[in-house]
Subunit: 430 residues, 2 copies
């Protein structure tokens, strides 16, 4: 057996402690699979006194994470601090600068600065790995870059944020409203005190940006994404979705069309029989559509110490075995320059729910606006009568352009008989 791979671990939160635990508990099989032991030798964290549930005896302590990159006895660095800027970014850049392979679980860093960081890593010939940054323990990055490498990917769609999926699942199962379920999720520790990063879709968008780069072989470009969260999803739309045989999921979707790559995160209605519709609670799932393999779905835990550490250590094993793959799946010189398609150019079917005064002529006004925008209706549903009161009207459309839909929505919202801003949810095949 060869010399051990000596690892420096920066950040001793849940994930950092999890990585230490995996390396200790499974040391024998990791050494067998890596061809040599993988041994933590140094750590960096702020607080030396905090109890982390794993023994730190014998590990060199650095107060400054960047010092790990300069530690001459460290062969590879694991950045588990988090955050797109500050010490995490400084450490990853310093590791690459020092020619030291670096593994990170940091989706924000890779989504926002990944293009520049990957370019630096390629120029220096250093491994930059981030399996843990997307969908936790599910090996979706390895699957895209290696397992399905023979395929031209047409579309990738994922449940990429467990907090949102948990909230939507509970809303559906218990028929409760968003605010109430969010408050419960916060009490249970499934949502942060400031939940906006999750529920506004930012976390899912970071992950989708990375997946889109890998699927379509181009450097990550977070700014090209369209992002909406789940704050506007209401119990009534979940109930109507059920009536239509659909379920509401927050999906990250990247697809290749004749005009380029579309990448977007927003609530979707998907057929309840589609595999992704069945993925409930905190689970993540990613559907990948390749031209030869067809549809492949991967499902598992997208967060937590164990799954994330599993992915970090898998990357370390690849480094120990010297299995190398270019960051975006191909060398920079071989990447394609497929353009990004703006959200306004999206087309697809739509679900609309209006609250209108129950009064003759209202539906005629709405459908006239849709007709004027070239929107073709697939179904219309108005349950119950309450003359003079507000009642819900649900419409679904055939394939429609986003720009036409947005313009129709503004005009519908302006009708005096429409008493609430219209709810719009895009329908996806799942």
């Amino acid at each position: 057996m060869s010399a051990p791979l000596k690892v420096g671990i920066a950040g001793l939160g849940t994930v950092g402690a999890g990585v230490l635990r995996v390396l200790r508990d499974n040391a024998d099989l990791i050494a067998a699979r890596a061809g040599r032991p993988i041994v933590p030798v140094a750590v960096a964290a702020r607080d030396r006194t905090r109890e982390r549930g794993v023994p730190l005896t014998g590990l060199r302590w650095h107060d400054d994470p960047v010092a790990l990159a300069a530690d001459p006895d460290v062969d590879a660095v694991a950045e588990l601090i988090g955050g797109a800027e500050g010490p995490a970014r400084a450490l990853v850049e310093a590791s690459i600068g020092a020619g030291r392979p670096v593994v990170t679980a940091n989706k924000a860093l890779i989504a926002i600065h990944g293009a520049a960081i990957a370019a630096a890593a390629e120029a220096r010939g250093v491994t930059l790995a981030f399996e843990a940054a997307v969908a936790g323990g599910i090996p979706v990055i390895k699957t895209l870059r290696e397992g399905l490498a023979a395929n031209r990917i047409g579309r990738i769609a994922g449940i990429l944020n467990g907090t949102c999926n948990y909230i939507l699942t509970v809303m559906r199962e218990q028929g409760r409203g968003f605010d109430e379920v969010l408050a419960d999720a916060q009490a249970l520790g499934y949502a942060e005190a400031d939940p906006s990063f999750d529920i506004d879709g930012v976390d899912a968008a970071h992950k989708l940006a990375i997946l889109a780069a890998l699927a379509f072989g181009r450097p990550v470009d977070f700014s090209a994404l369209h992002v909406e969260g789940i704050r506007q999803v209401s119990a009534i739309d979940i109930a109507f979705a059920r009536e239509l045989g659909l379920r509401i999921k927050l999906l990250g979707i990247a697809s290749r069309g004749p005009r380029g790559i579309e990448a977007r995160v927003h609530p979707c209605m998907v057929p309840e029989a589609s595999p992704i519709a069945r993925v409930d609670g905190v689970f993540n799932a990613v559907v990948i559509e390749g031209d030869f393999v067809g549809r492949v779905m991967l499902e598992g835990r997208g967060a937590g110490a164990g799954p994330t550490a599993s992915a970090v250590v898998a990357d370390l094993i690849d480094i120990a075995r010297d299995r190398r793959t270019p960051v975006w799946g191909a060398a920079a010189s071989a990447l394609e320059a497929a353009p990004s398609v703006p959200m306004a150019a999206h087309t697809g079917p739509y679900y609309l729910r209006l609250m209108v005064l129950d009064r003759p002529g209202v539906i005629a006004d709405v459908t006239a606006i849709l007709r004027d925008q070239g929107v073709s209706l697939e179904s219309m549903l108005q349950r119950g009568r309450s003359p003079g009161e507000a009642v819900p009207v649900v419409l679904t459309t055939h394939e429609t352009g986003e720009a036409a839909m947005q313009s129709a929505l503004s005009r519908i919202a302006a009708l005096p008989t429409v008493v609430e801003p219209p709810a719009m949810i895009r329908i996806e095949p799942g």
Copy 2:
């Protein structure tokens, strides 16, 4: 970009032609991902005149597949002939002997002779790759050996044969009997004229033997498997399963217990809410349970030219990039010698369905036998009354030993009031 990887392809059936098509249609992106072009230069097949739907111009033709291994202009060989013996085996052995990396889609060969072939490959330092041998395009081998390499695997369970899953799905959806649905499947080309290889569980067992070797890091041992097919699954048991909230699937299951590794293929009843219960039709799925990652499920097409070729070419890309992994995930010297546990030592809950004469005292006789064998009942169900006629009685048990159950079954079958051999299906968590 480096020199091309020149490939010799043996076997020009569906899969061989599919590989040629992938290498041609996606040549640009495969070259980008592999770091160099992957170019077919030679083929071997019996019939030079057959039309295969892909141009063979410019490819050297060998009548004898083994000649590919000796072709000095071939860098890597793809064995797509099939069969555990004969030319397929000869070619794989010759390729390894010649120090030439070899990719195969041949599950029978790897399941039966894989231990010896892998040992030869390791001794010679030659890559032997067979992603396509299990679950078609789903990259389950890469996931087990690399993506989840940090985990001690506790259990792996898979729908590994699309023909069986298709038959069971149609039986459930249409309430029809096995023989009738099999005949339809044959007419549609979803089942072979001689279907025994699929429906008796042999094909699934070949794949499970390989997965068990990878999951538990030991050379493949087909002889250690317990194998049952789906011929005995009847429409009435599918109907009772539904009443119990269960579905019948043919699963391959390998698990690690305190006494060693259990590996078995047989019909199972799984909770209908479990993800694997929802995998219908010709789709395959594999659930992997790791100690840190938790449950991961992979789902996709398990057969067909496109998915299989996708996996073969992924292996060729790994070879082109010189990404190496020992065949069973670790070097032979690091493999564990975990013993195999015989089926008689299995424990779990069971479903029994008896056809008994509707006469007082019958249930008492049956339950007395179960009590004598130490079998604890969880539920008993007898629908309808037809005094003096045969009626079904369904029993489910708590955790029970296989040996006790088999012994109880023989005694129950011998009761004069039990008019048909009892049906027994093991219950699994999915």
